[in-house]
Each structure stands twice: as structure tokens, then as C-alpha cells.
């Protein structure tokens, strides 16, 4: 997907003024945050489960080559055709080749974020093959010609009115206002495609090394359809999706649905091991899995490694005060919110997403809900350090830091400078006790709020003076 993260500031400012989006974000926040809290409370050992998941992910990453090899040999033993891809183009080309080899005219698709990364739909459609997104949220944005704004609920930024208008136009049917009716209309429209598509493409929430399986976790039933009805099924995955065993998967399933949508379990968990077998009555004749590595191994060898634990639940963005107010599109790539602020520069280059790791208060509302305990603020800070090293910071910022460093390491100068600031600040504030307009960096503060003034003297001066007085 094309990266537009460099427009973060402009886009986020515009999104703050978008009332429709603001309403949608408020609703989403309420839904996701509240329902997650409720369902997490039910687990009396939630923290132990969370720690175990974090440890299992770390262990798997530490032996990732062995687990991937085990996965591959078991998958192949079940008849799965395994492909590896080192670039987005390579993955897209593999998909098209599979489609062309199988005379595929129509593809139905169940969500794949990796597919978003590679720009799969566009590439495939460019080769004259029809692609129909079937996840309701993905279907909506496909019809609208947009990108997802959230990794779990791709159309979260769209209002019901948006969808009513969109469906009336695209389906050429009378306009519906009810969410239920709209959903059922989409069901009706998409159903024939499930029945006559030649190929199904899904993502893969996990690859299970013990059995050579891939698994998808869905609520709508489109995932099951996509993995069962067409004659070819392709699952798009990436190296870090691998986990060791079925029991490790059960562990992840205690966390993923709760963290993502506040459900105890997602409606459908569909584990696929190979294509149709002799005794099967249905299922695709061919099952392919494509394993991608773009940027993952680089992150594996870096200090951002913990980011690869991610199980794509979306809890971090749901709880992030920045995401909650600007939405996902401002982040400019596939993954928004805190995980996006780490993965976007990590996979696309620091210089292409300079704002993202900086547009955070480091509050850690994300880290405390991350089911695999990714230390997101620490990773953002590490990216800031990298930016500093590579001279990607603004001159003003570097200069201000240098001045501050100079002064703060020289107590005598510091005491003088602060004395002046305390005095001057109070004078500027006058009787009101607040400063309403400032220059330089101060402008960006006083544009939005007052600055309570200093009180005229520093604590140091007051304290040392009183000590002097007491000493007599």
C-alpha cells in the first residue's frame, strides 16, 4: 500500500475537524474499550495468561526458523503448496500465477492485512481478475474505494448514513436506513459470489507449527465460506504469524477475541490443514500458503523485536488517546495506532514516517492492554532515538535540546536562567496570572491554551534564602 504517513500532521488536523468521523470514533471507543474491560474482568488470572502469551511469542521468535521449517514440512505432508516471498511484488505475482494456472476469473477474499501491505487487490485486478471483499467492513470500503482505517473494523470511520448512501448507489436498490437491513442486503448481494468464485484468498491469524495448519478467526462466516467453497484457496501469511502448538493457539484465543472485540471467543475459528482429501465432501482441491518476509527479519534483529509479538488485536489503537481522536487514516499506512507507529517506520524506513513515533504522549494506555505485553512506548522512544542519530529531527528541536543540556548540566547558569524565567514569566502574565500568547515554541502552546505563569521566584531561591535567614 502506498505510504502517506508524512502527511500525518495535515491529515490528523483535518480529521479533528471532521464531525462525522469524530462521532464514529466516539462510538467505536465506547464499544471496544468498554466491552474489552468487561470480558477481561472475568478472567481472574488475566495477567498470568498475558505474560504466558508474551513468553510464548518470544520463545517462538527465538526459534522461528525451526518452527517455520516444522510448519512447512507438516503442511506439505497434508498437501499444502507452500510459497515464500521476499517482496510485495513477489507475493502478488505468486497469487496471480496461481490464479492464472487455475483459470481463475473471480476471487472472493476474507480480510488480509498483509494483502493490504502488498496492494494485492489492485495488482490482481490489474491482471483482469475480479476480487470481491466479503468481510462486511472490507466490502464497504472496497465499494467506497478507500483503505481500512482499523485492523479489525476497517469501516469504523464510516457512519450508517455513509453506508446507506453507498449501498443504494452501488447496489442500485432503494435506500435502507437500518444497520440490520444493510447487513442483510450485503449478505444477499455477496452470497452468489461465494457460490461461484473460483478462488478464495484469506489471511492467516496464525500458522501452527505442530500441525502445519493455518487458522483464521472471524465472526461473519465469510472466512469459512472462503476456505471451503472455491476450488482454490490461498492463505496469505507472514513469518511472525507462526506459533508452536495447538495449545499455544488455545492460549492466544483467550486473548485475541477479548482484546479485539470484547468477545469471549470469535464466532468462527477455522483451522485448515491442507486441501480437500479423498474422504472430504467439500473443500478446495488446491491449498496454497504464501509466507512473506518484508521488514520482519530486519525488525527481528533490531531493538524493535518485541513488536513482532503482535497478534493484531487492535487493542492498542482502541485505547490510544491520539488514535481515539484522529482515527486510522491519519497514520497513512496499513497499521494505525501505536503498533502502526512502530511498524510503519520499521517496515518502510524512518524517513517515511517521521511523525508517527513522535505523535504520542507515551502514556502507555496501549502497553497495558496489549495481550502480549509489547512495550510500545519504549519502542516509540527507540525510534525517536534512531531519528535523533540519523539527524531526522528538526533543527529547532535539536537546538533547543542542546541549549537545555548546556544549561541543565551547569547548576550556576541554570539557577540564573531559571531565576530570570520565573521573574519574567510572572511579569508577562501580569495580573491575570496567565500568559495567553507566546513566541516561538510557546506559540504552539498558547494557540490552544493559556500558560499559568511562574510565581516570580524559583523554589531553589526561596529555599536557599530561607536557610540563609534561619542560619542568621
Amino acid at each position: 500500500m502506498e505510504i502517506t504517513s508524512q502527511d500525518f500532521k495535515a491529515v490528523s488536523s483535518a480529521k479533528l475537524k471532521d464531525e462525522k468521523l469524530q462521532k464514529a470514533l466516539f462510538q467505536a471507543k465506547d464499544g471496544f474499550v468498554v466491552s474489552r474491560a468487561k470480558v477481561v474482568k472475568e478472567l481472574d488470572n488475566f495477567e498470568a495468561i498475558r505474560q504466558a502469551a508474551s513468553d510464548v511469542r518470544d520463545h517462538c521468535l527465538a526459534h522461528l526458523d525451526e518452527y517455520l521449517e516444522a510448519w512447512e514440512s507438516r503442511a506439505q505432508a497434508a498437501g499444502t503448496i507452500v510459497h515464500w516471498a521476499e517482496s510485495y511484488e513477489e507475493l502478488n505475482a505468486i497469487v496471480v500465477k496461481i490464479a492464472q494456472d487455475n483459470r481463475v476469473k473471480k476471487i472472493i477474499k476474507s480480510k488480509s492485512m498483509v494483502g493490504e501491505e502488498t496492494g494485492l487487490n489492485e495488482y490482481v485486478e490489474g491482471h483482469g481478475i475480479e476480487v470481491k471483499e466479503t468481510d462486511l467492513g472490507e466490502y464497504i470500503i472496497q465499494q467506497a474505494g478507500e483503505h481500512p482505517s482499523h485492523i479489525i473494523a476497517p469501516a469504523t470511520h464510516k457512519s450508517k448514513e455513509d453506508v446507506s448512501e453507498l449501498f443504494a448507489k452501488k447496489h442500485d436498490r432503494p435506500r435502507l436506513e437500518d444497520a440490520e437491513k444493510l447487513t442483510h442486503e450485503a449478505r444477499e448481494i455477496l452470497r452468489p459470489h461465494f457460490l461461484d468464485a473460483d478462488m478464495g484468498i484469506t489471511g492467516a491469524n496464525f500458522m501452527i507449527a505442530e500441525t502445519g495448519s493455518t487458522v483464521i478467526v472471524t465472526n461473519e462466516g465469510n472466512g469459512r465460506m472462503t476456505t471451503t467453497m472455491p476450488r482454490v484457496h490461498v492463505a496469505i501469511s507472514s513469518i511472525e504469524k507462526c506459533i508452536p502448538t495447538l495449545d499455544d493457539f488455545a492460549l492466544m484465543m483467550r486473548l485475541l477475541p477479548r482484546s479485539a472485540t470484547g468477545q469471549v471467543i470469535s464466532n468462527y475459528v477455522s483451522m485448515t490443514t491442507g486441501p480437500k482429501r479423498n474422504e472430504d465432501l467439500d473443500g478446495p482441491g488446491e491449498f496454497h500458503v504464501i509466507i512473506l518476509d518484508v521488514g520482519r527479519t530486519r525488525v527481528l534483529g533490531s531493538e524493535l523485536r518485541e513488536a513482532l509479538r503482535c497478534i493484531r488485536c487492535g487493542a492498542c489503537m482502541n485505547h490510544c488517546p491520539v488514535y481515539q481522536n484522529v482515527g486510522g487514516h491519519a497514520y497513512g499506512w496499513v497499521y494505525p495506532g501505536p503498533i502502526g507507529s512502530v511498524l510503519t517506520p520499521a517496515y518502510n524506513g524512518l524517513e517515511n514516517a517521521i511523525d508517527l513515533p513522535n505523535a504520542a504522549t507515551l502514556c502507555n494506555q496501549c502497553g497495558v492492554v496489549c495481550p502480549v505485553k509489547i512495550p510500545l512506548p519504549d519502542l516509540m522512544r527507540k525510534l525517536r532515538e534512531k531519528q535523533y542519530e540519523k539527524n531526522l529531527k528538526s533543527k529547532t528541536e535539536k537546538w533547543s535540546l542542546k541549549v537545555w543540556a548546556y544549561v541543565a548540566t551547569r547548576p550556576k547558569i541554570y539557577s540564573m536562567v531559571t531565576r530570570v524565567m520565573a521573574r519574567a514569566g510572572k511579569i508577562v502574565g501580569g495580573n491575570s496570572g496567565r500568559i495567553r500568547k507566546m513566541i516561538f515554541a510557546g506559540q504552539d502552546w498558547t494557540k490552544h491554551r493559556d500558560l499559568p505563569t511562574p510565581r516570580g521566584r524559583t523554589f531553589r531561591d526561596i529555599y536557599l534564602n530561607s536557610k540563609k535567614i534561619n542560619k542568621g
Partner: protein
């Protein structure tokens, strides 16, 4: 016990009453308070900006200035968090300082945590009365586990009623330089915080972090709210109004 007072650069310049109140509280609890004169900054602004070298310089300074005390008490969740939770990481490539950082970390306390869990302070000399609501600063809450301590202290005050705001744990949008670099996002976040605290109709919002205080007070006044007081918990416990300069 010898207790080092780390007043924080922000309180030193912008609101000395926080330092004065902390001093009073510690002395009232029977501590011998040491104020290393040459203290300046804990290094957090540099650390969070990615300037590790400057942060290390400032951190080394703190470590050596506070080497001769039994405890270090800080009236700030974020500076407290910096020292307690981050100095060790900051010195990960300076082995000779790592031990000192661990030593300091073990002795460093945010003010309310010290009052409740070390000196068991349960009575205070304060004239403050009214309804209050408490804002949980992110660093204090998530790095240091400051949640119950300030509330416990507030409940000891006979003329103070505590009303919880919805979203007390929600970030106020300060985030240091975030507040100026991404001013409009920060402004929206603090507006929402002000909505929440105003809904309680409390006389004062009480906090443990001056960064949050400046942000919230600045926004309240800009919104036209000149009524709700914005106070540091140390000020509430000693009956100061925040404007004192002696």
C-alpha cells in the same frame, strides 16, 4: 531518615509551592530533608526526545547528587518514573552506572507513595475544604502504580469530599513536547479531560504531576473556566493555593 528532595525543574521554575508543600510534608513526617542545591533536571525531556546522550549526562548528575540519602522523594509521577523506571535502561550501556541507578531506583518514591507506604502519614495540617476530583497522571499510574495512595490521603481530610471523574485514568494530552508539536491533537485530548472533570462539578481537580497541571489549568482558563481550582496534592495537604512564592 535522610530524605533527598528532588523538586523537579518544572516545579522549581513554575510553581515553587509544590516544593514548599513537599518540604513541609516531609518535615512533618519527621524526615531530615536534604536538598542537593545543584539539582536541575532528571533528563526526561531529552530521553523522550531520543537524545540519549544528554539524558545520560543529566541522569549521571542526579545519581551522584543523591548518593548520600536514605530515600529520594519526588512530587511528580513523571520524574519519579524517569528515575525509578528508566534510569536503568538509560545506563544499559554504562555498566558502572547501572548499579548506582538500581540503588537510586530502589530508594526513589513519588510523594504520595512515600507518605502512605513509608511514613504512614495519616493526618495533615490543612485548611483546604471542598469537593475534589483526582486525575491519574499516566507516568504515575502506569510506571509507578500511583492510584490508591493519593485517594487514601485525600480521604483522611475531614472537610474534603472526593468525587471520581469518568476517565480519571485517561491521558490529559500533555506528553511533554507532544503538547506543542501536535498542539491541536493535544488540545482536543485535554478538552475531553476538562469535560470529564467539569462534569463532577468539583471545586478542584487534584493531581500529582505539574506537566498535566499546566496543561489542564491552561485549557480550563482558555475555555473560560476560572472557577475550578487546579492543585497539586501536596498543596491540598498543606493548605496552599499554588501561588505562593515564599
Amino acid at each position: 531518615m535522610r530524605v533527598g528532595l528532588f523538586v523537579t525543574c518544572l516545579a522549581d521554575v513554575m510553581r515553587p509551592s509544590i516544593g514548599l508543600s513537599t518540604l513541609d510534608l516531609l518535615e512533618r513526617a519527621g524526615c531530615e530533608v536534604i536538598f542537593p542545591e545543584n539539582q536541575t533536571c532528571c533528563g526526561q525531556p531529552a530521553y523522550n526526545a531520543g537524545d540519549r546522550a544528554t539524558a545520560q549526562k543529566l541522569a549521571r548528575k542526579v545519581v551522584s547528587e543523591f548518593a548520600d540519602v536514605d530515600y529520594v522523594v519526588i512530587p511528580s509521577g513523571s520524574c519519579g518514573g524517569m528515575i525509578k523506571a528508566h534510569f536503568e535502561d538509560l545506563f544499559s550501556d554504562l555498566p558502572e552506572y547501572k548499579n548506582k541507578a538500581q540503588w537510586l531506583s530502589a530508594r526513589t518514591y513519588e510523594l504520595t507513595d512515600f507518605l502512605v507506604n513509608v511514613v504512614n502519614a495519616d493526618s495533615f495540617n490543612t485548611s483546604f475544604q471542598g469537593t475534589v476530583t483526582y486525575h491519574d497522571s499516566c507516568a504515575g499510574l502506569r510506571e509507578l502504580g500511583i492510584k490508591d495512595q493519593p485517594r487514601k490521603l485525600l480521604r483522611t481530610l475531614p472537610h474534603v469530599e472526593l468525587k471520581e471523574m469518568s476517565g480519571a485514568e485517561q491521558c490529559c494530552g500533555f506528553g511533554g513536547t507532544f503538547s506543542v508539536k501536535y498542539g491541536d491533537i493535544s488540545s482536543r485530548i485535554v478538552d475531553l479531560k476538562c469535560d470529564d472533570l467539569e462534569s463532577t462539578e468539583a471545586d478542584a481537580v487534584v493531581l500529582g504531576d505539574l506537566g498535566c497541571m499546566l496543561n489542564i489549568e491552561g485549557k480550563l482558563r482558555r475555555r473560560g473556566n476560572h472557577k475550578t481550582k487546579v492543585l497539586h496534592i501536596a498543596e491540598v495537604l498543606t493548605g496552599r493555593n499554588g501561588e505562593e512564592a515564599e
